[in-house]
């Protein structure tokens, strides 16, 4: 589904790095520290983003924080409302740090916020694992076109798009480079 227009890099490696650093500081500032924060990445590309934000928080916050306690993953696939409309999706593991998420401030991390349906599924998945004190949402790109009343608390970049355009996030952990491409 390309628009025919040439692909254009909207965030470079440097832009992504800067956005993640800012999000990490915003999370610490909003929650007055990171002791009670738990970052949960939504597969596939939310996972390396959560890991990177976690590393920045560990670096910025002195004290006994470790990224093992701070970062996990949550796979919302089985909670999606469009399961039967799409080809079978492979399941990704859900990893919650041993301390659990009850009474924590959970920050869901994903690459692109679009319809909001993935986040809704992730919220349902969370409620089956435990009861967080609060849930916040961090995304690298908010491209608009929400279909549900969901908004992000931390946004790397607001990117006005048309529905037929495609936003691709490439991260060096999974792809060749760090960049966000609009095509």
């Amino acid at each position: 589904m390309t628009s025919g227009a040439p692909a254009r890099v909207v965030l470079s490696e440097h832009d992504i790095s800067r956005a993640l650093t800012r999000i990490a500081h915003e999370i610490v500032e909003r929650n007055k520290g990171a002791e009670e924060v738990l970052l949960l990445g939504i597969p596939t590309r939310g996972v390396p983003l959560a890991t990177r934000i976690g590393a920045r928080i560990v670096e910025a916050e002195a004290g006994g924080l470790t990224s093992e306690d701070l970062v996990g993953t949550i796979d919302p696939t089985m909670y999606r409302d469009d399961l039967r409309r799409q080809p079978t999706r492979g399941l990704e593991p859900t990893r919650i740090p041993p301390a659990g998420l009850t009474d924590k401030v959970v920050v869901l991390v994903d690459d692109v916020l679009y319809s909001g349906r993935t986040v809704r599924a992730a919220l349902d998945a969370l409620s089956d694992v435990g009861r967080p004190r609060a849930v916040q949402l961090a995304v690298l790109v908010d491209r608009g076109h929400r279909e549900l009343p969901i908004r992000a608390d931390y946004i790397g970049k607001n990117l006005p798009t048309a529905r037929h355009e495609r936003v691709s996030v490439h991260l060096s952990e999974l792809d060749d480079a760090d960049e966000v491409v609009l095509s």
Binding site: D75, R84, R85, Q86, E92, P93, T94, V129
Partner: protein, 321 residues
Amino acid sequence: MRHLLSAADLSREEAITVLDTAATMAATQSREIKKLPALRGLTVVNLFFEDSTRTRISFEAAAKRLSADVINFAAKGSSVSKGESLKDTAQTLQAMGADAVVIRHSASGAPHRLATSGWIDAPVVNAGDGMHQHPTQALLDAFTMRRHLMPEGGAGAGLDGKRVVIVGDVLHSRVARSNVDLLHTLGAEVTLVAPPTLLPIGASTWPCRISYDLDAAIAEQAPDAIMMLRVQRERMSSAGGGFFPSAAEYSRRYGLDAARFEALPGHALIMHPGPMNRGLEISARAADSDRSTIVEQVANGVAVRMAVLYLVLAGNEGTPS
């Protein structure tokens, strides 16, 4: 995956997808809330023309953990005992809106007939047909082996180079057939051990070795897993076929007794698809040892069947395969 009819139909890639999905399902089963919403609103029919408690309960638990509605249909006391044909039963289920059919039948090939005849649109999962196939049992056995024998729980891996010995009544065993097919696909080396009377004609063409001597097989293969098949006592009488002269003789030559248990490598898994005849094909010493995975196989069965139902039901047609 549209249907699951035979373990031989699965490619290596598909089999590993099922096992990886099962691992994710198994992880959710240690949570406080075990139920997942993936198949909400769908109806799974358990169509059992042959008695089975374990397999039916396992499929029922799997479907319910995924929030599907389950209808159990046992042939006894149903319209089938009044002479209804498979075709009419299938069309009845179709009219009632079954989204998937899990079938066990005493006739080999019944699931294949149901899936390919055009009587119903729903995916068909074979829960054991005659002396032919029992693919979910083979998948749960492979899942159990992979979890114990492969590094880091085996995510994404096959069973390459692992040696598996399957002992007992291969002739009447759909479990053995499915296991040979699937384990071969996953790269394991399988040896079947049985008295010649309990090996089917043509077994020499299967992708496995064949031995008539359990002690020699254990010594030569040093197996990573040994699977004991159930032997039915009635098979030794002439009315039952006269396949072996006495239970004591079978047990002496092919039973996993204390001496053979000691001869196995220290890490070898002791497996049995159940129900067991303690003292006949397996000794209590082996069945109750800490290397026995017999109880774990039952738990893994639910996770594997969740994975199979998820893969045939979630997602539209034309998916991996």
